[in-house]
Symmetry: C2
Subunit: 377 residues, 2 copies
């Protein structure tokens, strides 16, 4: 059996994902669909609308055969690290095709990756511009193109990961259909995940845009999980921890720890805090990730140590997914498991366990320890 | 002018405190009443029912002339350190009399202090008994008495502090009247602070037992501040911080950090947590204090450093209290101030500032920075 891999958040799983999934199978001819899915926190560092088990179940009931967790140290990262981590997992799972949504499937991303190698690193010294802005300035001057759409950015990152690691993975861009990533409106049965989240917050109808199993789960969501609810935890950490300790946080740089502490001391709610911390130097996504790293007390050392030593936590599978696992498991070069033991909790799985415990503030469900995988016939 | 000092929590300020205050002035003949009052957390490590400003105001309107804050590193401590800290502050304020409620004013506490010096330290090695139990075993064998009542324990600690430091302070025990410390019922106009807190929780009438200014403030309390509300903060700290970091917490010993982390991981609410952590070795009061030290990330070094370098934060005064301050301020050998500046916040006042920020979870009021003192004519 050949598998097609997909890198997903499914936040929530909706009809657009369902459409994409069947396109991916059709266009690649793969018999098995494998999704590597973010756990309880998104790439932007925000809690997901429902937990990873609920999202995995919806995906499995909708045609995905195997869902594995993208570890938090890959999942909550800028695009290049996110993509690198996700492809490392899919490659370990012996996936030879990876499909992804594309805004410009006609672009030669390999040529763009080659262009990046000619970048002048000295040009990245502007302190009043984000990294992305400076990156695009150089890319445009070399190729005439810019990576503005999130899908283009990811397509670039996937291409780079494959080339850099010599993966025998064929990338299959699939042209997006329906609402764009930033479209906040719901039209018909296809809507973006952010439009659906918005509809839940504003109590508007979205039930046509998600499969029934997801609609049921979302109907139980009374408050959309967000940083406002977690802010007391973040704020207490920023206030109580010594600034030298905060400085050891993963990606904390340029004295941001001082700024975050100072603003937290005077900010009673998260909106006030995040706007107080924002500068031209950092995107909101970067700052939201910094909030998560700080609340999880993630250190540079911990993340660096794990980054090159991934593992595969299986969240669930269908009968076909199980067959595929049997077929490949002996070739998988990293730890592969369905249940988190106490030893794993205190050992290599600890960062994901801690993220799950933070998410427990939104759901009383134990996210990891001894949680069995979802099995769909 | 001569002053009488009192060590208080006023949690809340009630008629029993009012009665005691006038007894103290009458029996000592003092013209000025000075109270050193715990800030926003009690000796047991719990948040106070209303903040220090509200409690100070009630006291000042009821006959206290000067209220100063007992710093958190003295206030949230076992009796001997609590008493030592409070008397250091009162001594610095040139108070020559200290009045306190007594269960056994007839006892010779100086003789009990002398007896303690003859204790066999090797006898304190029982790991299945609290320190207090082992202390009383030795005291009984030497003197036939035991320190069981909280007032007796404090009377002992005040006596020891005066003798050890050669303070020229005369201790004035005042026989308690009305309900005992542990009495949870309200009878008439005098009730214990714990009975009043209980009445607030159970929505029973307590308005006769507190002065009008306090009754007004308490009427605005919808939920009594407690550890249940702070538990998400404590839990996140216990889960996210490395065990080696938790081990550096003030008073953390005998591997308690491992036990607290393990129990926090599986406990969704505070009751479950604290019962899970409790052993014969530790009292609830000790464990509640450990919860506060952990949430404030207080280290041994920080507390040791401050313990011998107190300061006096004036919360409020009457005209008479102000006169007294003018009279004594040149003789006060420690920093004396009415407003917390940014420098003090980041410097010597930092521990109290952090405690105030934690308390801000119950009230949106800024507890310290630039807060003016209360002035009552």
């Amino acid at each position: 059996m050949q598998a097609v891999g997909m890198v997903v958040e499914y936040n929530p799983f909706h009809n657009g994902h369902h459409y994409f999934l069947h396109q991916a199978k059709e266009q690649t001819g793969a018999e098995v669909a494998v999704a590597v899915m973010s756990g309880d926190f998104t790439q932007r560092g925000e809690p997901t609308i429902v937990d990873k088990w609920t999202r995995a179940q919806a995906a499995l009931k909708s045609g995905v055969d195997l869902v594995v967790e993208l570890p938090v140290f890959y999942a909550v990262q800028p695009a290049h690290r996110f993509a690198a981590g996700a492809l490392a997992i899919l490659n370990a799972l012996q996936v030879h095709r990876v499909a992804f949504g594309a805004e410009h499937p006609e672009w030669d991303f390999a040529a763009l990756v080659a262009a990046e190698e000619r970048f002048d690193q000295a040009e990245f010294g502007q302190y009043d511009a984000t990294y992305a802005t400076q990156f695009n300035e150089q890319l445009r001057s070399q190729t005439g193109l810019e990576l503005r759409d999130p899908n283009d950015i990811l397509a670039f990152a996937y291409t780079k990961a494959v080339l850099k690691n010599n993966y025998s993975i064929q990338l299959t861009p699939i042209r997006r259909r329906g609402s764009g990533y930033h479209d906040r409106q719901i039209h018909g049965q296809i809507a973006s995940a952010s439009a659906i989240r918005q509809a839940i917050t504003t109590k508007n109808d979205f039930s046509n845009t998600v499969p029934p199993v997801m609609a049921e789960a979302l109907a139980r969501v009374s408050t959309v999980p967000d940083w406002s609810s977690l802010y007391p935890l973040l704020r207490n950490q920023l206030i109580q921890a010594p600034v030298e300790y905060l400085a050891q946080t993963y990606q904390m740089a340029e004295g941001l720890e001082h700024r975050m502490k100072e603003v937290a001391q005077r900010s009673l709610d998260f909106d006030e805090f995040i706007h107080g911390v924002k500068t031209k130097r950092y995107t909101y996504a970067h700052l939201l990730r910094m909030c998560l790293y700080t609340t999880l007390q993630l250190t540079e050392g911990e993340v660096a140590d794990r980054f090159d030593h991934p593992y595969i936590h299986i969240l669930g599978f269908t009968a076909r997914g199980r067959q595929y696992l049997h077929q490949v498991k002996k070739q998988v070069p990293v730890p592969l498991f369905t249940k988190v033991s106490q030893g794993m909790r205190d050992g290599f799985y600890n960062l994901d366990y801690r993220a799950g415990k933070l998410y427990q503030n939104f759901t009383t469900v134990e996210q990891d320890l001894k949680h069995p995988p979802i099995m769909i016939r």
